[in-house]
Symmetry: D2
Subunit: 342 residues, 4 copies
């Protein structure tokens, strides 16, 4: 089988490097273009990127020359975007117009009516927006997006609760520093400390789930009728967002019923390469999940749940730069391909 050519927009940053890691030895995709800022363009990737992952930089990628973030410079069928919001806003439509499939981790277009905001295990049918988007905008390509990292961890656990008549959600997050990029949080700020604020995070957690859990009807998404209230905190953890969640449901299920719903949640995606064996892993121990011990479960693509109790209250945890970012976009693209849309 010939591989699909894949590019990365914003290839040198924290999420960009996770894209490289995910795509370097991918069975379906071949990494053909690494695009980054003018400062990096023209350099070999190993020089342009200060590789910060604890897995070695793949040799096949190290020697690739970084190109500018421009459709004419990138050779690929699909591009994965780890661009900052403002740049994504400008650049992603240019790529879509030029015929690229854009699988974006950026927030710029997530809430646009005709742009799919997708977690494969939650709302794969929203991909149907692609045709509407292409028609409406006259694009050969298109943009699909995945949610914010902290939204993904929470919303995936909310999906099986929809059957109980989910009404309200309250969530307090304890988020890892990698979510802010390599230089986003200084050591002096976060060491021996908690920062009870993350710019823009709470609005995302309070709006994205409504679209994600909404219904594709006619040619649009009817948002779910739920209310989310979020308090977002940064804690001294490298990777892995931990979330304390309260959920009220019309049918008032018992903790045992909720646990069963999590255990039985088994979306069939068709053996996508990045799909974990279990997307929701339920832990029985009273002191799990923990980010340092559980973030790599399912190669970072599983979400661990524990402490399900009256309230309903529980704790969810997932790897923010894999499940919550690069891995999410790659899984979206795999889903597209499996449906023949790539």
């Amino acid at each position: 089988m010939e591989k699909i050519k894949a590019g990365i927009l914003g290839a040198t940053g924290a999420v960009g490097q996770r894209f490289v890691e995910a795509l370097a030895n991918h069975p379906w995709f071949e990494l053909t273009s690494l695009a980054a800022s003018e400062r990096s363009a023209g350099k070999k990737y190993k020089k342009a990127a200060d590789w910060r992952l604890d897995t070695p930089l793949p040799e096949s990628v190290a020697e690739l020359e970084v190109v500018p973030v421009a459709p004419s410079k990138v050779e690929a069928d699909v591009v994965f975007s780890a661009l900052p919001t403002d740049l994504a806003k400008e650049v992603e439509p240019a790529f879509a117009k030029a015929g690229f499939a854009v699988a974006s981790n950026a927030s710029a277009y997530r809430m646009e009516k005709d742009v799919p905001l997708v977690i494969p295990e939650v709302n794969p049918e929203h991909l149907n927006l692609i045709e509407i988007q292409q028609e409406r905008r006259g694009w050969d390509g298109y943009i699909i997006t995945n949610p914010n990292c902290s939204t993904i961890v929470m919303a995936t656990t909310l999906k099986p609760l929809m059957n109980f008549g989910l009404e309200t959600v309250q969530v307090a997050t304890m988020q890892a520093i990698s979510g802010a990029g390599f230089r986003g949080v200084s050591g002096m700020e976060i060491y021996d400390n908690v920062i009870p604020f993350i710019g823009g995070e709470e609005p995302k957690m309070e709006t994205e789930p409504l679209k994600l859990l909404g219904k594709f009807e006619g040619a649009e998404i009817t948002p779910a009728n739920i209310k989310v209230s979020a308090s977002c905190n940064r804690v001294p953890v490298i990777d892995g967002h931990t979330e304390a969640i309260w959920a009220t449901m019309r049918e008032a299920p018992t903790p045992e019923e909720v646990k069963k719903a999590f255990l039985n949640f088994d979306p069939k995606l068709g053996n996508l390469p990045s799909e974990p064996e279990k997307v929701l892993v339920v832990r029985e121990e009273e002191n799990r999940p923990q980010p340092r011990l559980d973030r790599n479960v399912g190669k970072g693509m599983s979400i661990s749940i524990g402490r399900i109790r009256e309230g309903i209250r529980y704790t969810a945890m997932g790897h923010n730069t894999i499940r919550g970012a690069a891995g999410a976009s790659v899984l979206n693209a795999e889903l597209l391909h499996s449906k023949g849309k790539l």
Copy 2:
């Protein structure tokens, strides 16, 4: 003025050392007895205690000989108890019976009907239980207690909300490791990690506030009619518990009204030595309070509040081993003394 003789039960641990720090140069109290386990008894305090605070061990205390935890060995008018629960259960009544005033940070007797559970700024009138306790139990002395560290931080902020008809509270804590004592949490457990469970903590946070915010009527406390739901987490912070709180109130005040209630909260204790200038400090910045920056406000006796917003949601933070433990007991004893009860 002659000083009141004070002893410490459990003087060598994390809270015991905070008691030493608080009492070594106290204007009203004179540290006369340091009691600890058999292993420590007979040694000089500087040898018995592995002094772990970043303020120097007071010289006047360093040379004191540690005595066993027994009424006959302790010379004092008031004893401050930092004993573990099971030991406190056994020993504190013996001290009360022997005529000591026992100001306890232990949880053993907090919820007993005739034992005051007091935060001076919240429910000083509950001290009236002392006489009932003495009569009922036939004790010359008595036991008074302060709440659990995470309860103190939360309940003090709830007091001014009672006027709005407080109904429900949800709280997710991010608690410091000093709360578990010097060796309670290993480095391998907590570094680069969050532990979403603290044994016994959630039940305390869910029951103690009802008594604290209850009314002293007739000869007993009628618990407040509120419901608290807690999720307690340990984070890699040395000192300072941070709490994300949701509170619903019958009168549904605006964030601005809630803020005013916090600002106007000004319990008059009468210039007690450990009383902070302001017990509730409201921060305007969007990213405060933070434990590393705000835990020492008011010499560790103020509680900092920030991010008051629709919900009502806000973040509270206080020093867990000062405001939440040793300082709480000392302030209780100061209040007793100011009322002529010591």
Copy 3:
């Protein structure tokens, strides 16, 4: 090929779990016995061990029943010992006498004259002591040992310097907390801190290299004529010991010559399963090696070197519980097997 039966003594602790990780899917060894303290014996391993690695507990191991640390209870050809020193002192000879090959990470017998202390890349010929040991002690089995974790990192880098006439070594270590076991260092001790002392560590670093770099002549080891002076420090790092090393050599090589010696160091072990592609990895960047980024190089079996400069000074770093402990013992056993001695 039939696999060699392998047991682990002290299977539940920090090093024991690394042994499990290393042996669970080993091409030559089959994990047949997990031995631990009386408290654990009789339980399934998944219950007995609080699994703390970020790789999942291998399923094949989870259900094994833990046995007591006694030769009659362990079924294996080779046993890997992660026992504490005092217990190792007592138990390891019993296993050797009973015919087991004992590959020990414990320090109890490292400096015994007839016990090989081996790093395969440094002094494989010292394994010849085995026959002398068996003859002298009348054992059917035998004990072989690997050095202390911080010694391994340093001594492996010293081996290629012997050709320059190594004379003196000074080393300041910055050691990870996993080296003290799961509960060895409390969070309150190490967070935001450096502890400039590790019990017993400096004597080991100052004596073990002399034996390691010594010559097997006649029937014994003549220690190398070098002098090592060590200052050992604990720092807030999970895994990976970093060492600042000064080495003086009779021939006074230039940094460039030293670098070449490191680059050319290529001991041929014969493709042992745990052998890294390169045992010494030289980094060119001015700010490497770093434990978080480099500890997993060569699956944790490579030692990274950087900052080679006048002095001669350089920095070495290796994974303390893999290269410095469990992996070291396993590599020793692989070497034995490849030489037909197992």
Copy 4:
């Protein structure tokens, strides 16, 4: 007594804030001018500075308006400089020329022949260079400097060793992140990590002590005839540099003799306000000094020493932004004033 007017150049950064803390309630100095970059100038200090210390921002300072870093805008007799090197290079001479006494923590002029590089307890007589500097340069004011933070900790301990004929020094540092300023080291870089390189640090540690320990003879400093070799490392500690030191001396003193020399080291400065009771504090415990426990000894102005042993080896630790920076400059100015030179 009328107070001396003091200004701070670079008042908003990590060292600038320590200057504010040191000067806000100083018995001799009155803080009259806070100068910072154009971005800050014109704002009130509480707005311009993101106050990051755990002591509260002094109210008297909060309302001061920040002025530009220009002699014409600053009203003061003495200015304390926390400027970055390149800016200091340009600006400090302008202030000296304009008649200000400049007490600088910047490295720009430390090694100039006619600029005193002074630790009051080590080489107060070097202040005699001031007259030579003024004469040579035709300045009404002058520049005096203090050494780099890691040099101060080490060099102060070397002073009493000079009497034994100090010859060589090797030092491995474990330096706190505050030394790089508030945003100098990112959380992703330093958490769970050691960085074995600090730009420019080793050359400073290897040259500054020679001047500091040199003799003022005729009209210049004859450098001490010693050789220093440094390996500088960054570790995850907020404040406090720890240093493992080896020192060889012609007279080869015993550890006990070295300890006595430290204990007897008692430079008389004449009760300067910032002078600690003891500049060198010798610890007897085998695991001290530790930054978290000992950095605040002597209000951050003492240097703690421990583990003196054969070699001669020992560990020294001091607060890098107090003793090693702001406090050092302030103590220098106090010394100047006590000698009537301000």
